[in-house]
């Protein structure tokens, strides 16, 4: 039979050819040359990144509205490499991002001048994605000055007001003078304005999608301001199980530990297909096809709001497992080419899957067996902080209402668990792809052979590499075994938090800093 080939197929072959040429070349090399080739070019990467932070090439002007993203990609990459930027640069970053911060909360794509009359007049409107990037960048910088520059309750305000595009007609920003007042206002506003769909908008009058849900929930969780109001119906949006208005109460969604089954009969089959498609992956909006980036966003969101059991996890695993190709890297969607950035988006989904047990800890942490009553949260965390103290505090029988889950400790407990298991994807193959095919020996990482390096791919290739190297660590204090790290052991990167994607040490610092609600 003579088979015709499609254009997609030809492109696929071209990429495979390039990749396999590299692999073949590698296989034929003598041992010492091999190890040189799979070496992570730390110094070159650092040089490329540090330069990027100091002065951007003019060709980056299209990213002008995404400058917090550049900060995050670069700073996070540097932190993964175990390095820091100079104090002066850190200060500049904090100053710069502070100027991106809207006086009423949230971060815009660039610095703005506050105008009293309306926040709509900002040079750069606050935006959820850049808020996520800015918060993660500031956490990565760390330190009192950086962390205290984040106006949490205003961020929360920001997050909540994205829920409603009619915001501007209902709100007087001048009222926002004191923080306490602001907080109350936010709650009132939120209760009044929360949309039944549960989703978030990217910015005022902006688009609604799963990415917006993730950035909102991630920011709220990492800043310890996540609450029942914010998570309400988010899961319903992602699964498109909008019940008829008023049938499911906020109480059921907010307080019930796992409300999946209660909602089943509310499923309206005609409305929209779920964002989780028949393949098992998650799409950006209902009806669209499954996509690696959105799969991570949707999955991480469902974990952070404690509703992950509502996803078809077996289907999700199936889908994501079949996204790793012969090249070793991941594709983003069915029948697309390999791309190193999915080392994090798809690889991250694996990291989440293998740590799902940690949510269990969340349920166990709030109960102290001696007294039979819920202990306070900080007490629970102290015990898990102890080196060898594996004491669990068990939750009382009976569900929820009397003992609500502490939403804000989900992310913390998630990484606190020791992890030892085989990864469900081919770790070695992924690391080989990143090191041999995505690495620019002069510094920086790229999508695939033949492409050029950029900060986005550098950040997400390194993040994926880190997850892969650490995916079989006994616990956070024990470094991975040498056979978990391809190439010289010096290739080992810092651990990153699989839900928020900030380096763990920095995450812990932030967690402690924002511990008080």
């Amino acid at each position: 039979m003579t088979a015709a080939t499609t254009k997609t197929q030809q492109e696929q072959w071209m990429v495979e050819n390039q990749v396999f040429q590299i692999f073949d070349l590698f296989a034929d090399l003598p041992r010492n040359a091999k190890s040189a080739l799979v070496e992570l070019q730390r110094d070159n990467h650092l040089e490329y990144l540090t330069k990027g932070l100091k002065r951007l090439d003019p060709s980056f002007c299209v990213l002008d509205a995404n400058r917090p993203w550049l900060c995050y990609w670069i700073l996070h990459s540097i932190a993964l490499l175990g390095d820091y930027v100079e104090h002066e640069v850190e200060d500049n970053v904090v100053d710069f991002l502070s100027r991106c911060q809207d006086p009423n909360g949230g971060y815009g794509g660039g610095p703005g001048q506050a105008r009293k009359s309306s926040i709509l007049w900002q040079d750069h409107l606050p935006h959820l994605a850049t808020t996520y990037a800015a918060v993660n960048a500031l956490i990565t910088v760390g330190g009192e000055r950086s962390l205290s520059s984040i106006n949490r309750w205003s961020v929360m305000f920001e997050v909540s007001h994205f829920c409603n595009s009619a915001y501007w007609s209902h709100f007087e920003p001048n009222d926002m003078d004191s923080e306490i007042f602001c907080r109350e206002k936010v709650y009132m506003f939120l209760k009044r304005m929360k949309q039944p769909s549960g989703a978030f908008r990217m910015h005022d009058a902006g688009e609604i999608d799963v990415r917006a849900c993730y950035t909102a929930i991630s920011v709220a969780s990492v800043l310890n301001i996540l609450d029942d109001e914010l998570i309400q119906n988010v899961g319903d949006y992602i699964l498109s199980t909008h019940s008829k208005e008023g049938t499911d109460s906020g109480v059921a969604l907010g307080l019930c530990t796992y409300p999946g089954h209660e909602l089943r009969h509310h499923i309206d089959l005609k409305v929209y297909p779920s964002c989780q498609t028949y393949e098992g992956g998650i799409s950006g909006e209902p009806g669209a096809e499954a996509h690696g980036g959105y799969t991570f966003c949707g999955f991480a969101t469902m974990i952070l709001i404690n509703e992950v059991n509502r996803l078809d996890l077996a289907g999700l695993l199936d889908w994501v497992a079949f996204r790793q190709g012969r090249e070793g890297g991941f594709q983003g969607r069915t029948n697309k080419l390999v791309d190193s950035c999915y080392s994090f988006w798809q690889g991250g989904a694996f990291a989440l899957l293998q740590r799902l047990h940690a949510i269990l800890d969340e349920q166990l942490v709030n109960y102290s067996p001696q007294t039979g009553v819920a202990s306070d949260i900080s007490g629970g965390e102290e015990s898990s902080d102890g080196v060898d103290d594996k004491t669990c505090h068990f939750k009382l029988g009976g569900t929820n209402a009397s003992c609500p889950v502490n939403l804000n400790s989900i992310g913390y407990n998630f990484v606190k668990q020791p992890g030892e298991m085989e990864a469900l994807y081919h770790r070695w193959a992924l690391q080989q792809y990143i090191l041999l095919c995505a690495q620019d020996m002069k510094g920086g990482l790229k999508d695939k052979p033949g492409k050029h390096r950029d900060f986005y791919h550098t950040c997400y290739s390194l993040s994926g590499l880190s997850l892969s190297q650490h995916s079989w660590s006994q616990d956070e204090d024990t470094p991975p075994l040498p056979n978990a790290v391809m190439g010289p052991y010096a290739n080992l990167l810092e651990r990153t938090h699989p839900l928020f994607n900030v380096v763990l040490d920095q995450y812990y610092e932030a967690h402690e800093f924002f511990d008080t609600p």
Partner: protein
């Protein structure tokens, strides 16, 4: 931008881009000036348009334009001279700005969203939008922004789903590797079939055409993935039955259940398959559906019997995660009072689904009301067993003898077919299904004879399984199982990264084969020599040991099993075993169980007395590696009532062994073997003795009575 190769910059390029950046900075400061001063003049709008054409990601400028549009629309409303043309021209300008912005970056979220905003205010011409989409979908046929926008436009402008389906046909004909088009096709067709739109009923005709379309793609280039994924969806549409079905029950239809008193019976005339004894004083009644359902209760299932004296029966879902949805449900009938030297029988009739209320988790109603009946015989005491101690059960090989059945004996898997619900109006459609699947099988066999293609093999394996299931949906005759097992074995070699997946699938087929008929099942049935143990109602042991099982299945045919040997396999989870309500002895030694959580389903087995989990991997891994492999990785959603057990455990640090505690506190084991697991040290064993007070033997040692 993603997917677009960039050239290395040359000095002159750098100069050009510096100039461009300078120009952009100027535009930006001009724009900000207008924005801050509420200026919506022609000139101001021109500046923002040019800014967005150069940098579509500048979302603040999109919002400025939204404000400008509202401002100008309000103005034109109050202007008596204005007409609809002026409104049109205001909005037309917006569409043009979006178009030029998209030319710069066709993945700009802000630009696509602005267009949606304009359209939701004012409907542009359909042609115009479709032309625009054509252009962008031609430039990148996988652009998901464009596909999302297409779905938005289609629903806003009421484009019929039929027309949109035609569009996907055109796109596929142009380039059949476009998975986005196939995906949209599946979404559209699902809707059309669901509401039986004109031309989309009957579904058989439609699906036949789809098969033809996808064949063209698959046979042109079998290495291209897109068509194969669509084919999997199509197969699901072909075989799936939406409404839940009752697939089996215990006791089975038409069976004669023999209840024993406290006796050890050695009457060879009895069929051991239907012999049952319970110390709990109740007979479990189990119904097994083909999918998880909710709403099973005394009104949806009625039971007519004198055994049911307590009034209304309570049905319990056999679910490990506390959900009210389950595939298997159980209730308990009271054990009749056994009178000495009297032989009586009690008929029981069960009607399922004559009253609506049973609903599958995807929202479909149980629509095949069915009835099954059985008789319960009570055998009187023959021997008084008082003082006669229970002995330890040994799994030693020489304790087992292949079971020789008597021809008049009832069939262990009998009556599954008799329960079969024939649905007359589906006769033709089931014939169509069988033909379609057979046709697909022939085609792919031919294809695979020419090329070696893993996804082709996987598809063929699934087709063959579907075919066998279809022949007889309940007591399936597995005519193809050898071929399927061979395909999965090939795939394990061909695609080693996914070999565990193929191994699981192979295990399921193997079990279907074993349970497909009486003869093959009997090859695995053994008589257990140790007949003195009185809690064994029958002495038949099903031995599925040493057959490389990595997963358990076909449990609907094994509800009668009371003694099960699964040792020397590769099992990691006990998922599904909760349905085996009669199970009293279970051997799981030498498997790959890595935690107590993997034993979770056993908690629901109230008659389990003897458990061997020796030589597994419990404790070798600090966390449970099976949880994510189960269809419900969150088996930990169970509620734990710890406070009540405080006294039982006393000084033992239960928190270290909470997983074990969860499993064992609900079981009344008399015998447990746990040796050969990393966790099984002396400390742990003393913990076990405390939390399982019924335990008599631990690792073969008789425990001292306290």
């Amino acid at each position: 931008m993603h997917g677009q190769p960039r050239k290395a910059p040359k000095p002159e390029d750098e100069a050009a881009s510096a100039a461009k950046a300078e120009k952009l900075r100027n535009l930006q400061s001009q724009f900000l000036c207008f924005h801050h001063n509420n200026i919506y003049s022609k000139e101001a709008l021109e500046v923002s348009a040019r800014l967005l054409e150069n940098n579509p990601e500048y979302y603040t400028a999109w919002n400025y334009r939204k404000l400008a549009v509202e401002h100008r629309l309000t103005q034109s409303e109050s202007d008596p001279d204005s007409d609809s043309d002026s409104v049109n021209s205001i909005l037309n300008v917006e569409l043009k700005v979006v178009e030029s912005a998209l030319r710069q970056n066709f993945k700009s979220y802000g630009a696509w969203h602005h267009r949606k905003w304009v359209l939701s205010k004012w409907q542009s011409s359909l042609d115009h939008e479709l032309r625009l989409l054509d252009r962008f979908q031609k430039a990148d046929s996988r652009n998901f922004h464009a596909w999302n926008y297409r779905r938005f436009v289609a629903s806003l402008l009421n484009i019929s789903e039929v027309d949109e389906l035609q569009y996907t046909t055109d796109m596929i004909n142009k380039n059949f590797s476009n998975y986005s088009a196939w995906h949209n096709r599946s979404v559209l067709l699902s809707n059309l079939l669901k509401r039986k739109a004109q031309g989309f009923f009957p579904k058989e005709k439609v699906l036949n055409e789809e098969y033809e379309l996808v064949h063209q793609a698959l046979f042109t280039d079998p290495d291209d993935q897109s068509g194969w994924f669509y084919h999997l969806w199509l197969l699901e549409q072909t075989v799936k039955a939406d409404a839940p079905l009752l697939v089996s029950s215990w006791p089975a239809h038409d069976s004669n259940l023999i209840l024993l008193g406290d006796s050890c019976l050695e009457d060879s005339a009895l069929s051991p398959f239907n012999t049952f004894h319970s110390e709990l004083g109740t007979i479990p009644l189990v119904v097994y559906f083909n999918k998880a359902v909710e709403g099973v209760n005394s009104s949806t299932i009625s039971v007519e019997s004198v055994l049911n004296t307590k009034g209304e029966l309570t049905w319990k879902p056999l679910s490990t995660n506390n959900s009210q949805t389950a595939q298997v449900w159980v209730t308990y009938l009271n054990y009749p009072n056994i009178k000495l030297h009297s032989s009586e029988f009690y008929p029981v009739e069960v009607s399922v689904g004559h009253t609506p209320g049973i609903i599958s988790s995807s929202g479909f109603h149980y629509s095949h009301p069915s009835r099954f009946a059985f008789k319960v015989f009570v055998r009187p005491f023959e021997k008084d067993l008082a003082g006669h101690g229970v002995e330890m059960v040994s799994w030693r090989e020489d304790n087992f003898l292949l079971y020789e059945s008597h021809s008049q004996e009832s069939n262990p898997i009998l009556s599954l077919d008799q329960l079969n619900i024939k649905d007359d109006h589906e006769e033709s459609s089931s014939k169509w299904r069988a033909e379609t699947i057979a046709n697909e099988i022939a085609l792919f066999r031919e294809l695979l004879s020419e090329i070696n293609c893993k996804i082709g093999k996987l598809t063929l394996a699934r087709l063959l399984i579907a075919h066998d299931m279809m022949l007889s949906p309940i007591a399936n005759k597995m005519v193809h199982s050898e071929e399927v097992i061979q395909l999965y074995s090939d795939l394990m070699k061909l695609d080693s990264p996914h070999s565990q997946y193929y191994k699981d699938e192979r295990s399921l087929v193997l079990l279907q084969q074993i349970t497909s008929n009486r003869e093959s099942l009997l090859r695995y049935c053994f008589r257990h020599g140790d007949r003195t143990s009185s809690f064994l109602g029958n002495s038949i042991c099903l031995r599925l040991n040493n057959i490389s099982l990595s997963r358990m299945g076909s449990i609907e045919k094994l509800l009668w099993v009371q003694m099960l040997d699964l040792s020397h396999n590769e099992l990691r989870s006990m998922e599904g075993l909760e349905a085996m309500q009669l199970l009293s002895c279970l051997n799981l030694s030498n498997n790959k169980l890595s935690s107590f959580t993997a034993l979770g389903p056993l908690r629901l087995l109230k008659s389990l007395k003897v458990l061997d989990i020796s030589f597994n991997e419990i404790g070798s891994h600090s966390i449970d590696t099976t949880r994510y492999l189960c269809s419900s990785p969150l088996s930990h959603t169970e509620e734990i009532d710890w406070s009540h057990d405080e006294t039982v455990t006393g000084d033992v640090n239960q928190t270290n062994y909470w997983e074990a505690f969860l499993i064992f506190k609900d079981l009344n084991l008399t015998q447990l073997d746990i040796v050969g697991n990393a966790i099984a040290d002396e400390k742990f064993k003393s913990f076990l003795v405390k939390i399982v007070p019924t335990l008599k033997w631990l690792d073969g040692q008789e425990l001292q009575l306290h």
